[in-house]
């Protein structure tokens, strides 16, 4: 088959099983767009901003486990995509970005819309390629998909000069079925001796704690995690990125850990004698003060990325390998050994944890005449029967969603954890909705974040993507305001969202449905009304309490046993004794 470079790209995507490409045209990719026009197998979604394309592809990838594909033009097309590439990089989402480039002969001449896309993206991609010869095009694309989806996944950019895609130049094309790269062999099998040592340590633990992260979701290891956790009977906490791998409503789950994690999860981290970290990377929002992190614990760590091991926290038993396989090996070894953890010690440990749980650290004022943001998420959970895909933006609303929507399944909670990118919520919801058209997809957002990619409302209309937007409208960059309240003596510098649009009218002008909710009594019925409109995008503009803060909170750089639970300052001061327990 003789194909032009453009035709090779499109045919390759089809052969690779790509359903959707999220993109935006421009000079350097016109040939490619012409090839896209002449077929229907690979569907192109025209976003309204390249950042939207990357987040949409990212949402699609996180919900499905398949790589998301983006197509942008050179120069501003590529630079607009960078925020979304970096977002995917920080959260290890598999993504392929095809960027147009000025013709090979003009590279380096400051040509119109020329930017060094390879150089610009280098620090925030897993790898990138510049295609210099049409004969390398198909194999380079194959490499890009292989690198993006294997090992620790991540975004890969392929920069394609315009001349490579010219319709006149045709070469024979064959889909490269497999690929071998001498410089890239992601380690996959955990070391058996390390695994055995880890099992022995787990079985000897008196106060064990499991801490699982996004790696369990990326590695499709939720089932294995559940089996092993139940077999051991240990408490488990999950990171912001790991929510849903272990079902939140399960009694062994003690909730999220870290800066806005639960009191019980953080206290159990502080007190445990064996910490079992699974596909988690000891991020600073988790560890707080690293010198006071899990001071009594021996640590086991499974990760597919050797560089994640002992990076922030030294571990005692590292296991480099695929989480799924390592967890199932462990479960097997324990079954075969007919051994059990020390039941007496475990019962005592659970007793302690139950005491911490009794503090009810997520309590909030349910009788307020204002709508409390927590209650909005709880209502969302009720109305969607806990079965929705929930994407989120960044801020207080994100934390409330993570705390108050108990996820049962992996890949249901989709948020920008590593980079914390405002603007992620709506476009990522579009990607999810495309992948799962029959599912409820909710975007939990704030009036600040939603304005960063609001233009995608137009894309939603064009492609019939009836997502539900739940805007926790507190008229503040709430998370910024919270820090200013706590740490800057309430000097609210530029965190008030003045001159807000009328979101209902705005949504309507985009051709969708807008509903404003101002009264707690109307919340549930409005939410039900929104989700009953299966085929309409509904923007729920919920006017929430402006003064609400996210609790519990560990200040940046503090230790796990230095949580602040109650919003009442006096109580906060007095409530925790020097051992970190509530008085």
């Amino acid at each position: 088959m003789e194909l032009s470079g453009s035709e090779i790209i499109v045919q390759f995507l089809k052969d690779e099983g790509v359903e959707y490409v999220f993109g935006y045209p421009g000079g350097a990719v016109l040939h490619i767009y012409d090839a896209i026009h002449q077929q229907d197998d690979v569907k192109h979604i025209l976003v309204r901003h390249e950042q939207g394309a990357t987040h949409a592809a990212d949402g699609y990838a996180r919900a499905t486990g398949k790589p998301g594909v983006v197509l942008v033009t050179s120069g501003p097309g590529a630079t607009n995509a960078i925020t979304g590439i970096a977002t995917a990089y920080m959260d290890s989402a598999p993504m392929i970005v095809l960027s147009g480039q000025v013709p090979s002969g003009m590279i380096g001449s400051d040509a119109f819309q020329e930017v060094d896309a390879i150089g610009c993206t280098r620090p925030c991609v897993k790898h990138n390629f510049l295609v210099k010869d049409i004969n390398d095009l198909a194999i380079t694309l194959k490499k890009a998909f292989y690198v993006a989806t294997s090992g620790r996944p991540g975004p890969v950019l392929v920069d394609i000069p315009k001349d490579i895609t010219a319709p006149q130049i045709k070469i024979p094309y064959q889909y490269p079925e497999s690929i071998n790269m001498r410089s890239y062999n992601p380690t996959v099998k955990g070391h058996p001796r390390q695994i055995k040592k880890a099992v022995e340590l787990l079985l000897s633990a008196k106060r064990p704690m499991m801490y699982s992260g996004g790696g369990v979701i990326l590695g499709d290891a939720a089932q294995e995690l559940r089996t092993l956790t139940r077999q051991l009977g240990f408490p488990i906490t999950q990171t912001l990125m790991g929510l849903g791998a272990y079902p939140a409503p399960d009694p062994q789950n003690v909730g999220m850990l870290g800066m806005h994690g639960t009191y019980e999860a953080n206290m159990a981290m502080h007190e445990c004698d064996v910490l079992f970290a699974i596909g988690a990377r000891f991020d600073d929002r988790i560890t707080g003060d690293t010198s006071k992190f899990c001071p009594h614990a021996k640590i086991i760590h499974i990760d597919i990325d050797p560089a994640s091991i002992s990076k922030n926290i030294n571990v005692d038993i590292p296991i480099v390998g695929e989480v799924k396989k390592v967890l199932s090996d462990m479960a097997q070894i324990i079954t075969d050994s007919h051994q059990k953890p020390d039941q007496e010690a475990l019962a005592k440990w659970w007793g302690k944890i139950k005491n911490w749980q009794a503090q009810d650290c997520l309590a909030y004022d349910r009788d307020s005449q204002h709508i409390k943001p927590q209650s909005v998420i709880e209502t969302l959970y009720e109305v969607t029967h806990g079965d929705a895909f929930v994407t989120s933006d960044v801020g207080q609303h994100q934390m409330f969603a993570a705390q108050f929507y108990p996820f049962n399944e992996p890949r249901r909670w989709i948020n920008s954890g590593g980079l914390g990118t405002m603007g992620f919520g709506l476009p990522s919801a579009m990607g999810v909705k495309l992948a799962f058209p029959d599912a409820d997809v909710a975007c939990v957002t704030g009036e600040g974040s939603i304005q960063m990619c609001i233009q995608e409302l137009s894309t939603c209309l064009q492609y019939d993507l009836p997502v539900k937007i739940v805007n926790l409208n507190n008229r503040y960059l709430g998370m910024v305001r919270q820090w200013q309240e706590f740490f800057y003596e309430k000097r609210y510098s530029h965190s008030y969202m003045d001159a807000l649009p009328d979101f209902v009218k705005l949504t309507e002008s985009y051709g969708h449905v807008g509903i404003r909710v101002e009264n707690p009594a109307d919340l549930k019925s409005a939410m039900e009304e929104a989700f009953a409109m299966k085929d309409r995008l509904v923007f729920l503009d919920v006017i929430t309490d402006q003064t609400e803060n996210v609790y519990p909170m560990i200040q940046a750089g503090a230790a796990h046993n230095q949580m602040e639970i109650s919003p009442d300052h006096q109580k906060r001061q007095n409530s925790i004794n020097p051992e970190g327990e509530l008085a």
């Binding site: 150089g119 790898h127 990138n128 510049l130 001498r182 410089s183 002992s310």
Partner: protein
């Protein structure tokens, strides 16, 4: 501690900037970096000399290994290895006694004078980085006109090699 790390990398245009970028982005130290193509034109050999605690060196090697263009890596520091650096020094050499003094010292260091003018010598010297430092110290500071150093390169002794 000072570490000397050898790498085999794909001979691709972006490889060097990826490695240099890694060091600057993560705040690691580069004492020296040398690179050239090997007998296999698809591979480059790079030697990096870096400073850091054991923990940082561990991260450096892991992060380097993680780069897709890095084919193989070896930290030679604790292995029996040979290390050399090459240097050119252009130095002011005026008056008979000064000229012969420079010659004498150069002989002791087994340095060679490779270019001569009425007023200058250009000297070539190969050895460990410390030897190069020591040689420079023997010259009067004001006399040194120009110094060019290659950065260190290393090779392990014996049968074992860094190759595919």
């Amino acid at each position: 501690m000072r570490h000397i790390i050898s790498l085999l990398v794909e001979n691709e245009s972006g490889a060097l900037s990826r490695i240099a970028g890694l060091f600057s982005a993560r705040g690691y130290n580069i004492e020296s970096l040398t690179v050239a193509t090997t007998e296999d034109p698809t591979l480059s050999r790079m030697t990096i000399v870096t400073l850091g605690s054991d923990k940082i060196i561990e991260q450096i090697t892991k992060q380097l290994n993680k780069l897709i263009d890095v084919v193989k890596l070896q930290d030679m520091t604790d292995k029996d290895h040979i290390e050399r650096e090459m240097m050119f020094v252009k130095v002011r050499a005026e008056g008979e006694s000064r000229r012969s003094e420079i010659q004498r010292v150069s002989d002791i260091f087994r340095a060679r004078i490779i270019d001569v003018t009425d007023t200058t010598y250009c000297i070539e010297l190969t050895g460990s980085s410390r030897k190069l430092d020591a040689y420079i110290k023997t010259l009067h500071e004001g006399d040194v006109i120009e110094v060019v150093r290659s950065g260190s390169m290393g090779i392990t002794r014996g049968e074992k090699s860094l190759s595919l």
